[in-house]
């Protein structure tokens, strides 16, 4: 089943505001993500990476373009189906921790399960399982605010992981962390991909992190400027070779390449 899982986006456009304050954050982006892949969305701040990730994760709707998730057109899905999809199949690591203060680590981790309507006992069992996996079992009862940055981010990953998702979307997962703890968090994410086959979509401006991914999608000013081909390490059977067609549609000016290179 998971091998068929794919996100297929064509010509995504998204603008914020209207009139003179209108800002085109995405100007026609096509992306495909196969099951089990690790994909980095790379670009400078304000290039539209988060906007793209939000569209791919069905957190927002594009103004133009089509999006297919597991063969289903996103537009055809009901609100409830979209909620269900995000709740059951996706895990999120946002730019900030977004941990609920004054609530225990365990309660933070099991929030998606609570929303899913899982029973209290089962929820706690699953939550402890994830915390043990992340070596945070001894912190389960602590308030989230008492943790260090690295621990917090591990809790956030636990929360993204607790519903056994097919895809984890991570927006600058190491942006808030020092290099050492950032590396630990990266290792955890890639280990999840290796051992559980969870697809990773990582938004970053960190070239090193991007390089650890199977594939990199470079974005600048709302356009894809460069796709790297899938490496042999890609678990997916469906090799995303047709992406070249869309990157060709984007203006491949000299500046675009220099940006990609400059970010390295």
């Amino acid at each position: 089943m998971s091998s068929e899982w794919v996100i297929d986006a064509h010509g995504l456009e998204k603008s914020y505001g209207s009139g003179t304050s209108r800002f085109d954050a995405l100007k026609g982006v096509s992306v495909q993500i196969a099951a089990g892949e690790t994909v980095a969305i790379v670009g400078k701040s304000g290039s539209g990476k988060s906007t793209l990730m939000h569209l791919l994760a069905l957190l927002d709707e594009p103004d133009q373009g089509t999006l297919e998730v597991a063969g289903q057109t996103a537009k055809s899905l009901s609100k409830r189906a979209v909620n269900e999809l995000r709740n059951k199949e996706f895990g999120f690591v946002f730019q900030q921790f977004f941990l609920t203060p004054n609530v225990s680590v365990l309660d933070n981790v099991i929030l998606p399960l609570k929303i899913a309507g899982m029973g209290g006992k089962e929820r706690r069992r699953r939550g402890m399982e994830v915390l043990t996996q992340l070596e945070l079992a001894d912190k389960a009862g602590n308030k989230a605010t008492t943790l260090s940055g690295g621990q917090k981010q591990r809790v956030v990953i636990g929360r993204a992981l607790v519903n056994a998702p097919r895809v984890i979307f991570a927006d600058e997962p190491t942006g808030n962390l020092d290099t050492a703890t950032g590396a630990v968090v990266e290792d955890i994410l890639f280990e999840l991909n290796r051992s559980q086959g969870i697809t990773l979509v990582i938004v970053t401006h960190d070239e090193e992190l991007a390089a650890r991914c199977d594939r990199q999608i470079y974005i600048r000013d709302g356009l894809v400027v460069q796709h790297t081909a899938a490496r042999s390490a890609a678990h997916s059977a469906a090799a995303p070779t047709n992406t070249e067609a869309h990157s060709a549609a984007a203006p491949t000016n000299a500046e675009a390449h220099s940006t990609a290179g400059g970010a390295a």
Binding site: N83, L85, F94, Q95, F98, T100, I115
Partner: protein, 430 residues
């Protein structure tokens, strides 16, 4: 999210900002406290009046007087007619008006009205004293309408209207002075009633105590059955059969099976004959209306306090929504529907409402019961049977329910705001 989890989350969220919740709850507390107390006062007084007046009156009785048309200003003096107006103005009407008294001819024509089963004049008798075997006489008065009313008994039985023996229902304040050990002890004993006739001669009439009653607001004095009233009236008249017998008030019995409409029609019939008829319920109604009015005004103040508290709830929850923007965004990103978010915040409003109202009602009941006990022994001891604050479970529940409803309505605006939040906007929120 399960309903149980929603409720638990709502409760724990409520206590996250303790000071803010406490202040909001306090505002609701004041409203709920006041509303519970005013309702209790209303219920307490109503119950007292019901007991005092309701139990007194038989449901099938009219109190009949002459319609006071003759005294209406503007018509000028009415010509005297020995047959019809042969009576003095009595003191039965309200102050400032005069009412013609009823004559035997009036009684006959009232009796002729279809639907009236019997008419009895109320004869006022002025007793001087009552004396038991112990020997000390005490000043004493007899309630003229006692024959048609039901006394609030502490011992013995009601008066028997058809009995030929003279019967008396003694107010319980007379029990000890007359030398009886207890109310029950007084029942069955014989007492003497002194009365002065119109010529100044003293007479003594014997009567048997059949019951002892609580002093009542609306019917003071002892109760006497028809036989005793007749004996006293005869004694009072001094053996002289006065040419004109006139009565201020007559009591008419009508068919108990008569519907409310039938009673209204009968009243109209009597009115067309020139008589004013009112049932005990009518008279009770007037008292009740006043009390309901006062309680209504007090309740209005309490509701105003609650409306002020409602703005407190709105404010608290709006702040809470603002503060928890990211949390709401996160929950929505994780697949929580807008409906569930709405429910969560509505429940928080209801929890605040419940806390305030339950505390308010609880403290009102506690303080009120204590106050009521103190008052009935002190300030209000002259009104036995009055429970000034009566907390009825149904009305307390109603107050709590009402406050929770107000809280829910106050919560709709903030809850809507939370439900409508775009998860992306919320997560970007810095």
């Amino acid at each position: 999210m399960r309903t149980k989890d929603l409720i638990i989350s709502a409760i724990s969220n409520t206590f996250r900002s303790k000071l803010r919740t406490t202040l909001t709850v306090l505002a609701i507390f004041v409203g709920a406290f006041t509303l519970t107390l005013t309702n209790a006062v209303g219920a307490g007084v109503s119950q007292y009046v019901d007991a005092q007046v309701g139990a007194l009156g038989s449901p099938d009785v009219f109190i009949i007087t002459q319609a006071s048309d003759a005294s209406t200003a503007g018509d000028g003096p009415v010509k005297y007619d020995a047959a019809s107006s042969a009576s003095v103005a009595s003191q039965q009407g309200p102050p400032g008006t005069t009412t013609k008294a009823l004559t035997d001819a009036d009684l006959a024509s009232i009796a002729n009205v279809a639907g009236i089963e019997s008419v009895d004049p109320i004869r006022a008798v002025q007793a001087d004293y009552i004396e038991s075997e112990s020997g000390t006489p005490y000043e004493f008065s007899i309630n003229a309408t006692s024959a048609v009313t039901t006394a609030d008994l502490t011992a013995g039985a009601q008066l028997d209207g058809s009995a030929s023996a003279a019967q008396l229902v003694l107010p319980d304040t007379f029990v000890t002075p007359l030398g009886f050990a207890s109310a029950a002890d007084a029942v069955g004993t014989s007492v003497s009633i002194g009365i002065t006739d119109i010529l100044g001669a003293k007479h003594v009439v014997a009567a048997t105590i059949v019951g002892v009653s609580l002093e009542s607001l609306l019917a003071s004095g002892a109760g006497a059955n028809d036989a005793l009233i007749a004996e006293l009236a005869d004694a009072q008249s001094g053996g002289i059969d006065t040419a004109v017998t006139s009565y201020g008030v007559a009591v008419a019995h009508f068919d108990t099976a008569l519907s409310a409409d039938g009673i209204t029609a009968l009243k109209a019939d009597l009115a067309s004959e020139g008589y004013t008829a009112s049932t005990i319920a009518d008279q009770l109604g007037a008292v009740q209306t006043v009390i309901t009015g006062i309680v209504g005004v007090l309740n209005a103040f309490a509701v105003i306090a609650l409306i002020a508290a409602a703005f407190g709830i709105i404010n608290t929850l709006l702040m809470s929504v603002q503060e928890r923007t990211r949390e709401i965004g996160l929950m929505k990103a994780m697949g929580m529907s807008g409906g569930k978010v709405y429910t969560l915040f509505s429940l928080e409003a209801i929890v605040i409402g419940f806390l305030g109202s339950a505390l308010g009602a609880g403290v009102a009941i506690g303080l009120g019961s204590a106050l009521s006990a103190v008052l009935s022994r002190g300030l209000l001891s002259g009104l036995p049977g009055l429970n000034i604050l009566l907390f009825e479970p149904a009305s307390v529940a109603l107050v709590i329910g009402l406050v929770m409803l107000i809280a829910f309505l106050s919560g709709t605006l903030p809850a809507q705001r939370a439900a409508k939040q775009n998860p992306i906007e919320s997560l970007r929120y810095e």
